[in-house]
Assembly symmetry: C2
Homo-oligomer: 386 residues x 2
Amino acid sequence: MSDLSLVTCTAPVNIAVIKYWGKRDEKLILPINDSISVTLSSDQMHAKTTVTASTNFKEDRIWLNKELQASSSRLSSCLEEVRSKARQLESPAVNPDWKVTICSENNFPTAAGLASSAAGYACLVSALCKLYGIQGDLSTLARRGSGSACRSVYGGFVHWKMGSREDGEDSRAIQLHPASHWPDLRVLICVASDSRKKTSSSVGMKNSVETSPLLKYRAELIVPDRTKQMIQAISQQDFDKFAEITIRDSNQFHAVCQDTYPPCVYLNPASHQVSSLIHQLNNYSGRFVATYTFDAGPNACIFLMQKDVCKVVGLLQHFFGEGEEFVRGEKYNVVEPTEKDKSDYSVDRIPGGLKYIICTRAGEGPATLPASGHLLSPKGEPLFMQ
Amino acid sequence: MSDLSLVTCTAPVNIAVIKYWGKRDEKLILPINDSISVTLSSDQMHAKTTVTASTNFKEDRIWLNKELQASSSRLSSCLEEVRSKARQLESPAVNPDWKVTICSENNFPTAAGLASSAAGYACLVSALCKLYGIQGDLSTLARRGSGSACRSVYGGFVHWKMGSREDGEDSRAIQLHPASHWPDLRVLICVASDSRKKTSSSVGMKNSVETSPLLKYRAELIVPDRTKQMIQAISQQDFDKFAEITIRDSNQFHAVCQDTYPPCVYLNPASHQVSSLIHQLNNYSGRFVATYTFDAGPNACIFLMQKDVCKVVGLLQHFFGEGEEFVRGEKYNVVEPTEKDKSDYSVDRIPGGLKYIICTRAGEGPATLPASGHLLSPKGEPLFMQ
């Protein structure tokens, strides 16, 4: 058997600042409102996926973080969509009828609830499309794997338009601006310590659509205007406006979760204290120093300007840090809070409430790696098994 | 100086099942939506107030739980309303221009966040009106002290109609049914351990009115129908319907708090686990065994049928109890959960998460006590000081 054609891509995580919560079509993964996100740098966090196909493979095989995956409807549906697109090509680079072997891994803990499925599906779709030679917008394909994955196929600042077509072909992401548009913007991913069993995003949003009267109102009457405001704030690099809308939208999303029957609770005491710390910090400073947003889990994502990172990380470390390696990612000289700061803040100190912080920034979309990056051998076997 | 005319009343606590959150008039205390409550038995929890008036008193004096109170606008406004009503009488029993002495106490911890101001103002107004000889509906007077106090002037099941008049004269409570209407209904007040500084209800609801887009929608488009449904559920003693609406309305109120800028967070981890326990209990039982509601604090109030009290208290004690005197109030033979129950429930065990439970039931409105109940001496001095 000759060597196979391998493609390896990385894809980034994205953080929504206007939240996606609720589908109008479960199968096509069409949302009930637009959303906006910031794509994070792949330097700190990314998914990496190698794909190949061969007439000799008996079945599709997918390893995720070294574990062979049972076929899931999401995975199959996403794979089928890509194949069907490949079949429309005049001459696909690889035969779409061949079975594929896929090996994927994240360079961050999957269990930490860090939007790993968004990066994962964006990466899978990018690699497969490269393999088959599919060009153009990949966001509708990525969307079929995981809604928010459609935003990870672009870098920088991304707008997922909900669309109106029944077939979902206009429910796609567009890039508002590349990451370089707002060079001073920085991001702190605060990974919370939490072992509670959570309602998955898919199940949670389905319950919300079915039972929360507030969600319908949010989607129809609040998000459209907020989306416009957010696009303007990003376009003008207006951090005050960006910060306030981000906070309001995150809290409204968690309000809808609380309005769900039964309620889904994603925030924990450390989450609430991080949020309180940021509000106090902004009040004491007389300006928006930082803004927070929480996805379907207790991890805070904080946006701020580069000049404020050292101080904010110092506050987070003081109130929620414990042990070594608390600050990860990009290097900063963390500033220990003054005694006055420590006593001024009315924040419950929860040492270990955060496991660690990843310092990062906005970044570009999926990338293709050279052969040295492959996760599969030339014969299509996972390298970690050899 | 001859002996003074003393009046002593008790007044009950009430628990809202359709929540009051938001004023349309801060001074007159007029709400943005109707609310419905259950008045609790005074046997377990009540405020008790003795009032008197004399031409010899130099100023109004009020002791609350043995502490002399600084005059507050709420207190003065409530007192002035009663006096102005007394002045309209042909011959008030006591001269409304005389200064008053008031001594009030609760037989439950004020700090526990157990609606003490509702009972307190209902009691104050009841005693003052009795002193002056004011008859008829007292709810509009009690409302001027604390909105929810207007519901504590009636026993049983009470509807506070928001009214539409600018002067607030039609924003008053009516009794839907006396407590005897639903004889099997029981109430568990679960007092949570929590020392966090909380946003007061007044400040919280003001912030919500000013900043939460969801509150307006709730008040205008959701509460009116829920109120009708709840009146019907109570009228028909339909516990399933009563239970579901109660849970939904409590969660929606806390959703609005989360949608407030900055968010106000009243629930703590024990609150969320109590709520989760009740949902699981109802699921496993295939019927509504219990329902929960939370006011502006972490204490759960659980409604259930008498036959289920022993089992539910046993579950609460197992998951959240610690130490002696955990179960207070009416006596029940608490049933320890089976090993199967203990392992079936996916609830985080938080020993001490609840300080204690008060077992009680619906009860009647304010009552007048005989002389043996007075908290003031015949000369108008607090007995606790003598």
